[in-house]
Amino acid sequence: MRRFWHSAGPVLTIVAAILLGWYVLAVILNMPWTLDRMERAGESLSFTERVADTWAQDKPRLPAPHQILVELYDTVIDKKITSKRSLVYHSWVTLVPTVAGFALGSLLGILLAVGIVHDRTMDMSVMPWVIASQAVPIVAIAPMIIVVLNAVGISGLLPKAIIAMYLSFFPVVVGMVKGFRTPDRMELDQMRTWSANKWQTFWSLRWPSSVRFLFPSMKIAISASLVGTIVAELPTGAVAGLGARLLGGSYYGQTIQIWSALVMASLLAALLVMAVGMAERITMKAMGMAR
């Protein structure tokens, strides 16, 4: 129990401080509107009434946390999942291409890394470009891929999955090349003394030692996929998905809708990263490498 509070206590304290600060900020940001309305209506509200009003506006500049929670409850639990207003539906629309693209991208990334480690020409030709691509804001091309694929009649899940694939591809390549190269001279020499061939060396030495690198890069990859999918939903006027909810909210000034989409996207990201983390723990345990 003391252990628990040692690690959870500070986190909870800071979360509480953030929530408190949020409410205060909501009062400050929303107060002008409250005062304005009060004046026009000729009412005179007491201070507590004014504060309460800043936490209960329809389109506040900053919605209070409980307003977002209520909206989440309405759109996640109260609505039928099939309804266009259900956040579960929109999350699903975003989730499927994210996961599909991530899986494909990771697979391709691993394959390319295998090629790079085993083929010198590939290493020297491709690796510098892979590294350079990390500095390029690839997300920026997401909308273009959507538009182009739309023009040839491909729409819906596939274009978004391609973007998610593209974004998860690079971190996995970089991480896996690093991982495949962790075995040192001595370990490789040991394999040579047993005259192991390339594939034996790969499966019994390189692959197991790269697992430590695989999962951290997959965590980066999956959150990049999610960002990619959300951004892909932005400039094309998509009607479904979390990105569409963000954009729709910003057109109509529906701040509560924006925030609830944001919270949902965050939950999704956390769940996805946690799922990868879980897979990591299970794998590490199965391989006897758990700490």
Partner: protein
């Protein structure tokens, strides 16, 4: 069919050249020339296939068309660059990284705050923060200020987490040594903790360069004045001027790699002593 055959033969020929070069050694010249040949091959094949198959420029413009769009629109691209990169990304980058660094130093003496902020920072760094953009556009308007605000929030947590971890990266012996000298807290900070943290700080700075550019561009999709890289990509896409979209992507790629390269150079100068830099 002949077009495709030509492409395959060209590809194989160039690959053979690279294979021959790659197996001749790994001198500096070869390390530079091999990826360049690869890059040129890809661009040449692209041009050849677009021309040979007569691909609609609305789908994929030829590299020559992109080049023409780039050269013909330099004033526009430059204005977009200034708006998005210099005013949006760079301002936000400096404010965000600076604030994160100061926060890390400020909470350095409070293990309680560190234990609280590290997991939260790690958690937030995995979230799609760029989604905050519509809110920032509502708060700070269509101008570069809202983009800078998005960038500040995006770079803050990765930078904070890296700096805090870096300041813990001294080994116990080095800390004991400082204690035997009865060194004061500012002395320990300046002479040991910050130099030891430098590799981590630069790691945070490098991650942040890409994030800054992403934040500044994506935020423009939610509203911008009639200038900016994100704005241009969005409007030219609407008009199906793909060559101009690609030209803007080239600008983003150049700006991104140059920015990253600059930070890497600074890193090399400042952390030459670190094993990863000694080579």
């Amino acid at each position: 069919m002949m077009i495709l055959l030509g492409a395959i033969i060209f590809w194989l020929a160039m690959w053979a050249v690279n294979a021959w070069l790659a197996h001749r050694g790994s001198s500096r010249a070869i390390r530079i020339i091999v990826p360049i040949i690869f890059g040129i091959t890809v661009v040449a094949l692209w041009e050849w296939l677009v021309w040979g198959w007569d691909i609609n420029p609305v789908l994929l413009p030829a590299p020559s068309a992109i080049y023409a769009a780039f050269i013909g629109n330099i004033p526009t691209l430059w204005a977009d660059f200034l708006q998005t990169f210099v005013q949006g990304a760079l301002t936000g980058y400096i404010i965000g990284c600076g604030a994160a660094f100061l926060t890390a130093v400020a909470i350095d003496r409070s293990p309680f705050l560190q234990r609280g902020l590290l997991p939260i920072g790690n958690f937030v760094a995995a979230l799609p923060i760029v989604g905050i953009a519509p809110i920032m556009v509502m708060w700070f308007g269509f101008g570069w200020q809202s983009k800078a605000a998005v960038v500040v929030i995006m770079v803050y947590f990765p930078m904070l987490v890296n700096t805090v971890q870096g300041m813990k990266a001294t080994d116990p012996m080095q800390r004991d040594l400082m204690r035997t000298y009865a060194a004061s807290y500012p002395q320990r900070l300046m002479k040991l903790r910050l130099p030891a943290a430098a590799p981590f700080i630069f790691n945070g700075l490098k991650i942040s360069t890409t994030l800054a550019l992403i934040g500044a561009i994506v935020a423009e999709y939610f509203g911008s004045p009639i200038v900016g890289m994100g704005f241009r990509i969005q409007t030219e896409l609407g008009r199906l001027n793909l060559d101009m979209v690609w030209a803007e992507i080239v600008v983003a790629a150049i700006a991104g790699t140059a920015f990253y390269g600059l930070v890497t150079l600074l890193e090399r100068a400042a952390t030459f002593w670190h094993p990863s830099q000694r080579g």
